[in-house]
């Protein structure tokens, strides 16, 4: 049985009106079977080929669609991160992570305040060299003590 026996002219015309006049655009099995009809076409098939070829030409002139450049980055941005990072994120937002973070930030704040205060009251370089500079304020000086009384109005 030849392919021509399995396809009728009506079926061939229906297929031309479905897949167009170019046999290469047809499903592979059908294009092989239809090839003999295209080689020596009847008037009806020739007319169908002519009409559909015009539409094929028009369809091939349809402009191609270009995706915008920013779409690529936007899609990748939403892509899943690695499981390690995902696991880390899950742990962080699971209560324990937030508690540890709160503790760490409190500690950091305490250290910042403490060190800031220490820096503000830190001795100058000269004072740092003199180990008695702070102590001398506490040593009683009788002359200074007496001069202090002179300033008091009678």
């Amino acid at each position: 049985m030849t392919p021509k026996d399995t396809l009728t002219e009506t079926r061939i015309i229906a297929l031309i009106e479905t897949y167009g006049a170019n046999l290469d655009a047809w499903p592979e099995g059908l294009s092989k079977a239809a090839a003999p009809f295209f080689a020596v076409p009847s008037d009806a098939i020739a007319q169908a080929i002519s009409e559909e070829a015009e539409l094929d030409a028009l369809l091939s002139s349809a402009p191609s669609v270009e995706a915008p450049d920013h779409l690529y980055a936007a899609i990748l941005e939403a892509a899943p991160s690695s499981p390690h990072r995902a696991r880390g994120a899950r742990w962080f937002f699971s209560g324990w992570g937030t508690r540890v973070a709160a503790g760490a930030s409190a500690l950091a704040m305490g250290l910042t305040i403490g060190l800031g205060t220490a820096a503000a009251s830190a001795p100058t370089a000269a004072q740092a060299d003199d180990p008695f500079s702070e102590i001398e304020y506490f040593i009683f000086d009788p002359i200074e003590f007496a001069e202090g009384f002179e300033d008091i109005p009678e």
């Binding site: 047809w26 369809l59 402009p63 995706a67």
Partner: protein, 214 residues
């Protein structure tokens, strides 16, 4: 130095078909080579575990066609972008559970098509007053002498096709899908696809070619 094997350029394991249906489809296929399912599967597994290169490869390989389908179906670029992003968002969620029962590209196109249908449904729910006015697919005969005008007329005619007919035509005649792939994407039988495709072409001929002859 011997010329590099064109098949291995860019994507190792890429199979470029030697026989292509139509010149314009052949050009598009060369721009976006068909990739073997094995390559997709390897990239899906790597992408699911957060591998940026694999994710990038999947987007590079499939995004242009997904966007092309969405743009041709809905027309508006912004809406097509939203649909493309949503389709990939669903893909990212699906990757860890991916089972290779279907081709990734078929699945992705089907998701895209469903999102397009959702957008049509929402549009239909609007009152008729709010609906954008359809452009008359047929230009006056004196306007049809120019090829670019003819192309514009064709695109308008495609836009005015019934939804399912447009899907069949876009997939088979513009996106270069085989009848088996297109039927799988649309979730219809081959016979149903052929019927839709034939009706779409008949309407296009009546709207564009026949009007031009009047």
């Amino acid at each position: 130095m011997p010329a590099p094997d064109p098949i291995c350029l860019g994507w190792p394991g890429v199979d470029v078909p030697t026989t292509l249906p139509l010149p314009h489809l052949a050009k598009r296929a060369q721009e976006q080579p068909i990739v073997s399912e094995d390559k997709d599967l390897a990239d899906i597994r790597a992408a699911a575990s957060g591998n940026r290169l694999a994710q990038s490869a999947l987007v590079t390989r499939h995004m242009p066609r997904v966007y092309g389908l969405a743009k041709r179906m809905v027309g508006e670029p912004a809406l097509a972008e939203d649909i493309t992003q949503e389709a990939f968002l669903r893909a990212w969620k699906q990757l860890p559970r991916w089972e290779p029962r279907a081709k990734f590209s078929t699945w992705l196109h089907r998701v895209t098509l469903n999102l397009c249908r959702d957008s049509f449904r929402k549009r239909r729910e609007q009152t008729m007053d709010e609906l954008p006015e359809r452009i008359d697919p047929g230009l006056r005969p004196d306007e049809l002498f120019d090829q670019s005008q003819r192309t514009a007329s064709l695109m308008s005619a495609i836009d005015s096709l019934p939804e399912r007919q447009r899907e069949a035509l876009v997939l088979c005649s513009l996106e270069g899908k085989t009848n088996i792939e297109a039927a799988a994407i649309m979730d219809v039988s081959i016979e149903a696809l052929e019927s839709l495709l034939a009706r779409a072409r008949r309407k296009l001929k009546a709207d564009v070619l026949k009007r031009g002859e009047d």
